[in-house]
């Protein structure tokens, strides 16, 4: 942000402005023994001296509104200024459309700031008009496709005003652009979960979509996580869908050792055991083997975790062996 008076010569300090002569500036009161004192520019100090004065006297005026603009420009993260500005907008009955334009400009300048996006949201709430929001957030996401604030605002608008229609297309473009963009995958889940729903048909369609993306890039945690998320809504579970299980086995057979593939097969084993549906592909022995491979070869950084998961399967295996022995004894 432009923070100093030095390089903008045309700037007149508030203390030198005749129209502000009636107001006594209020310096910051740090007490007798201040700490973390920030060396402010003269302009910063002057603007905030007058902002504090306005705040203290609770002045609701056009000039105060203008002052908050200067204060915001010097520090867009000052939530007190933004809050007071909202109080002013309401008290003065200011045209909120121009305020939308204004905050859009600030967002363009500071797209990763909590206050600006919140201000935008309140304006949209007041106006009950979401018509500009998809474009605004779309622009911000073009600059940074993982901007958390922009996504959060977009989700709020879509949920509040039911604007889901073209979102799957928007998301698909982002995923096509960068298949590793996890925010886009998350948004895909958001659309499914809040709008299209998890019908059998939709689940199957999403599975096919995701498998295509995994075929394209196998070491991509985003698509594997999404697959797990979708399978969670499949009545057959993650080990009961033949399309998924055969896809995984095919990859494995073709020497793919993506840790996400191995982890997925381990989850299938886990589910098969829990459902009492173990088979040649999904059982405790295989899970143990995969955990071992991950811990020692394919995912060494997580060896502690894989050894912990391995131990869980070993306990299951041991319990199974004991029941098997027990049954054998009864048979004898």
């Amino acid at each position: 942000m432009s923070d100093s008076g030095e390089n903008d010569a045309a700037w007149t300090l508030y203390k030198d402005r005749p129209e502000w002569r009636d107001l006594k500036p209020v310096p910051e009161n740090d007490g007798p023994s201040p700490v973390v004192v920030i060396a402010h520019s003269e302009k910063f100090e002057d603007v905030y001296n007058y902002f504090r004065a306005v705040l203290q006297s609770n002045e609701k005026s056009e000039r105060a509104l203008q002052l908050t603009k200067d204060a915001v420009e010097l520090n867009p993260a000052n939530y007190t200024v933004w809050q007071y500005r909202r109080d002013l907008l309401q008290a003065l009955g200011t045209d909120l459309r121009t305020e939308l334009d204004y905050v859009e400009a600030v967002i363009k300048h500071s797209p990763k700031n909590y206050q600006v996006w919140h201000h935008r949201r309140v304006l949209v709430e007041w106006l009950q008009d979401p018509s500009l929001e998809l474009e605004l957030t779309g622009d911000a996401l073009l600059q940074d496709p993982k901007n958390y604030h922009a996504w959060q605002h977009r989700q709020w608008v879509m949920k509040t005003f039911g604007l889901f229609d073209k979102e799957l297309e928007f998301v698909d473009n982002l995923i096509t652009e960068d298949v590793r963009n996890n925010s886009a995958w998350n948004q895909r889940y958001f659309v499914m979960n809040n709008h299209l729903g998890w019908s059998d048909l939709n689940v199957q369609r999403e599975i096919c979509y995701t498998l295509e993306k995994i075929k394209f890039v196998k070491n991509n945690e985003s698509s594997w996580n999404y697959l797990r998320g979708v399978c969670f809504h499949d009545k057959r579970g993650i080990n009961g869908n033949a399309v998924v299980t055969s896809f995984c086995e095919e990859l494995y057979k073709n020497k793919c050792r993506s840790p996400y593939l191995l982890a997925f097969i381990i989850d299938m084993c886990d589910e098969a055991i829990k459902k009492g549906e173990t088979n040649t592909f999904h059982n405790a022995d295989r899970a143990i083997l995969l955990c071992h491979d991950l811990a020692t070869k394919y995912d060494k950084i997580r060896s502690k975790y894989w050894n912990y998961v391995c131990d869980k399967f070993k306990k299951i295996q041991k319990a199974q062996n004991e029941t098997d022995n027990h049954e054998n004894n009864i048979d004898n």
Binding site: E28, D30, V37, I38, Y48, N186, N194, N225, I301, R302
Partner: protein
């Protein structure tokens, strides 16, 4: 064994494989790995001549932190609404380094924070600023670190509790300030503060656990609000809050653990904040501290679990010590970034978690034993005994007005 320091060859063998599909995500990752490889390679050379490496530059960090405590350059104007935070970050960092300022300076801090406290309860980012939950959390933590009767007594707990009530929404979530945004940070800060100051009531946090659970995503981590992407900072807020409420069984702990372990980067050794994002020193704490919390939850059903944290403690320390120390003091996000107070605090806090794990066993310290920093309470990010002292002081001295709502 599982925590041993890695040799360069091993690190290099973990290089990102883009599968011939280059995207923004992959090229950003490759860039970071390239700079990290250079640093680790150089380090291996240096370490062969000096077995004491890697070394935590305690003195240099302490010195710059004490300078920051006095005053900050104009470039910190953007943090003018976070001065309370700055106080906590600096004090906590100094405490981690076992080098707290003298009693006089500490009493100055108490006075300054009193000037940030508002009559309506809570603390703002500076004198004359509205109360904010984040800065209130920072102030309460800073005062707990100082730990004198004067520090404790400077908190107006009756108005603090009223302030918390004004921010609560019917669904159990909290806004960060009056008229402000609402997300999982609000819940965490409110809970941490309420628990420490003994202003907690069940009514104040009615339905909060259910709201928190609705923030857990299909990936297993927590988001800032329902529907959003799992994120390290918010995941910490989510699981720490559930633990403070004693309701962690309501969320899927196994899924959270899986998501958390996957945030550790196989090359860098540090943590990323979200799936397919870049490593960042500050997540050493946000992600790292989730592990002792998870271990504590899991050990409720399994007694032997308490000793372990399920991430690579050695690799995280390597990242922080070798890649994240600025030459002139302070710690950083990642190589190439400038130091700042926030990253100094959370990188050091993460180093503490990496060394002490659950705190049950002996610390595991990479490099010289002098690298050991003090231990933190993973739910509050303040020393365990300082949390205990504050909590017990406030139990012995109940606030003048009981919860009226």
């Amino acid at each position: 064994m599982e925590n041993q320091i890695r040799c360069f060859e091993d690190i290099f063998s973990e290089a990102f494989n883009n599968e011939k599909v280059v995207t923004d995500t992959s090229s950003d990752q490759v860039d970071v790995e390239t700079s990290v490889f250079n640093i680790y390679k150089q380090f291996e050379k240096n370490a062969s001549m000096d077995p004491d490496l890697p070394k935590l530059s305690r003195h240099t960090h302490s010195k710059i932190l004490k300078n920051w405590l006095k005053g900050l350059h104009k470039s910190y104007e953007c943090l003018d609404a976070s001065r309370t935070w700055l106080v906590y970050w600096i004090l906590h960092s100094l405490w981690l380094l076992n080098d707290l300022p003298d009693a006089e300076t500490l009493s100055h801090i108490v006075q300054f924070l009193s000037h940030c406290q508002n009559e309506e309860g809570g603390y703002g980012g500076g004198p004359g600023q509205y109360s904010h939950l984040g800065t209130t959390y920072a102030a309460i933590n800073a005062l707990s670190i100082i730990g004198t009767d004067a520090a404790y007594d400077s908190i107006d707990r009756s108005s603090l509790q009223k302030f918390l009530w004004t921010l609560r929404d019917v669904d159990g979530s909290f806004a960060l300030h009056k008229g402000g945004e609402q997300d999982i940070r609000g819940v965490y800060c409110a809970l941490s503060v309420a628990k420490i100051t003994n202003t907690y009531t069940d009514a104040l946090f009615d339905k909060t656990a259910e709201w928190l659970v609705s923030c857990q995503t299909y990936e297993g981590g927590f988001a800032g609000c329902p529907g959003m992407e799992a994120h390290g900072g918010y995941a910490f807020c989510g699981i720490a809050s559930l633990a403070l409420l004693n309701k962690s069984h309501l969320c899927d702990v196994d899924a959270l653990l899986r998501w958390c372990v996957n945030r550790q980067m196989r090359v860098e050794g540090g943590f990323q904040g979200r799936t397919n994002k870049l490593v960042d020193g500050c997540y050493s704490f946000w992600q790292g501290a989730a592990f002792p919390i998870i271990s504590a939850i899991l050990s409720q059903d399994n007694k032997e679990m308490i000793e372990t944290v399920f991430f690579n403690q050695g690799a995280l320390q390597e990242y922080l010590l070798i890649c994240c120390q600025a030459r002139d003091g302070g710690l950083i996000d990642k190589p190439g970034k400038l130091r700042d107070i926030y990253h100094t605090c959370y990188a050091l806090s993460g180093l503490s978690v990496a060394q002490h794990g659950t705190g049950a066993g002996d610390p595991y310290v990479v490099g010289s034993p002098r690298n050991e920093v003090n231990r933190v309470h993973p739910l509050h990010n303040v020393a365990p005994h300082l949390v205990y002292n504050a909590v017990h002081y406030f139990i012995r001295h109940p606030p003048p007005v009981k919860d009226k709502n």
